[in-house]
Amino acid sequence: MRKYYGFFKLRFATGLQYRMASVTALTTQLIWGLMECLAYKAIAEASGGNLPMNYSSIVTYIWLKEAFLVLFNTWAADNDLFAMIANGNIAYELCRPVSIYSMWFSRTTGARIAEVIMRCIPVLLCAFLMPKAYRMTLPVNSSSFLLFLLTLFLALGITVTFCMIVYMLCFFTISPQGWRMVLTGAVEFLSGNIIPLPFFPKKYLFLVELSPFAYMQNVPFRIYSGDLAGREIYQCILKQIFWLVTLMLLGIAVWKRAEKRIIIQGG
């Protein structure tokens, strides 16, 4: 356990090394979030409030998305790991007495948590101070806040196990670019990062809900804003656990196959 905590600490230290990056990222996120709020406000007004999610839930969803962006974005998966596979530096990882899967899992999770701690506080602070129409709301009640935290962690787990599969698949192709483009692009859209899932047409939503993508950020954010409530929450939690375990087993299986056919590129 201590070694995995070690990875976490290290990533945290790496994140702290670059202060300027955090400041610029904050600015981008605030502007982006505000732009999205404006867009949905326009839609809400044009449709006379007849939206699949109510407007204040949408605003809260958007700010949560911005605040926790680094937990769930798959396009910014750990570039060092891809580079390691592509240029052969994985050789060093393989001479460590730990399993690659658990090492990379804790490394990715650690990196994300470390980064989100630095990023989410200023974003949330600003989101609560916005003018009324664009202000984030408090959670509906304390139990929904606790459920939000729980599902947030499960969602992070699903996202990381998904990234792990992408890393492992890169052992089978020479360049990681292909897998990354296809898979991360799909996740971006299907997990509700571009538009919240309730805006999807019913027919397609049904399909998305059969995939693990609907159980990433979609669940915690909608619980927080009260859009998801009652028995539906518990069903979602069960499905989150199911996907977490399934994706993890799948990732480990792919790794087991990769391990035996590894080649070290670059001499």
Binding site: F7, A13, Q17, G88, L94, C95, G267
Partner: protein, 274 residues
């Protein structure tokens, strides 16, 4: 301690002729060549020995090191190191080995060297007092006091290599594999690294396998030399044997050079392994 028996390893390489037409053609039909990186190589090394593993570029040196360190699985053959098969139970096996790849880095690029060391301490679960002792010893021998607090990216190559070697020894391995540890280093750093390796061997009886292109490394460090070329073992003996072999091959050639690099170069040429 190390029994390396009849090991083969081949790679499949996609190749094509240059030019746009050929690039398009290769989209549909790939030609693969099989390269036998190592071909029925056997040797055995006993405890506390220091062995130089030499041969021209592409001879199979690094492949051998990677098989010995459990990274690659060979196509055939057996290998037993300290009673364990390197690629079978990798996680257990690697506890007892230290590896330095001269052309790669195991230190985190953005953070001070010390942080990387502490992570390694956690990975290998080294108890704190043992870690302290070892770190003090390595700091002293490799002159690291000044540089431990510097981020890796700001170290010179020589400084970095000293840190890399220290990083590989923190967990006190019984076996040390060095893949071109002196590549690109200046005279001072080279000598520091060589002296250090010798000292480790004397004091801790660490078994060392060293690949290099720098014959002075071999002269300074090792007694025994294994020469390979095109994936095959060509010689196994002392440096003196190597010299004699080169001279006998060169007998018809007058005015032969006595400098070690020339001897090796002519040996490579004569054995036709370039």
């Amino acid at each position: 301690m190390i029994e390396f028996n009849d090991i083969c390893k081949s790679y499949r390489v996609a190749r094509r002729d240059s030019g746009f037409g050929n690039a398009v053609r290769s989209l549909f039909k790939r030609e693969y060549n099989t390269i036998n990186a190592i071909n029925h190589i056997s040797f055995s090394i006993s405890d506390g020995e220091m062995v130089g593993y030499i041969g021209p570029n592409g001879a199979g040196k690094s492949t051998t090191i990677k098989i010995l360190s459990g990274i690659l699985t060979p196509d055939s053959g057996t290998c037993v190191v300290n009673g364990q098969v390197p690629w079978k139970d990798r996680k257990e096996y690697v506890r007892q080995i230290g590896v330095v790849f001269g052309q790669r880095s195991q230190l985190w690029w953005d953070i001070p060297v010390m942080d990387s060391f502490e992570l390694l301490q956690a990975i290998y679960s080294i108890p704190a007092p043992r870690y302290r002792n070892k770190l003090d010893e390595l700091t002293q021998l490799l002159h690291l006091e000044e540089i431990l607090k510097t981020p890796t990216r700001q170290l010179s190559l020589g400084q970095r290599m000293r840190c890399e070697i220290a990083a590989s020894l923190l967990h006190e391995p019984k076996l040390l594999f060095l893949d071109e540890p002196t590549i690109g280093l200046d005279a001072v750093s080279k000598i520091a690294v060589r002296d250090f390796i010798k000292k480790m061997n004397e004091e801790h009886k660490t078994t060392v396998i060293l690949t290099t292109h720098d014959m002075q490394d071999i002269e300074a460090i090792t007694r025994r030399v294994i020469l390979i070329g095109r994936g095959q073992k060509l010689m196994d003996g002392t440096l003196e044997d190597l010299r004699l072999e080169a001279e006998s091959l060169e007998s018809e050639n007058e005015g032969s050079e006595s400098d070690i690099d020339h001897i090796i170069a002519s040996l490579y040429a004569k054995l036709n392994i370039m």
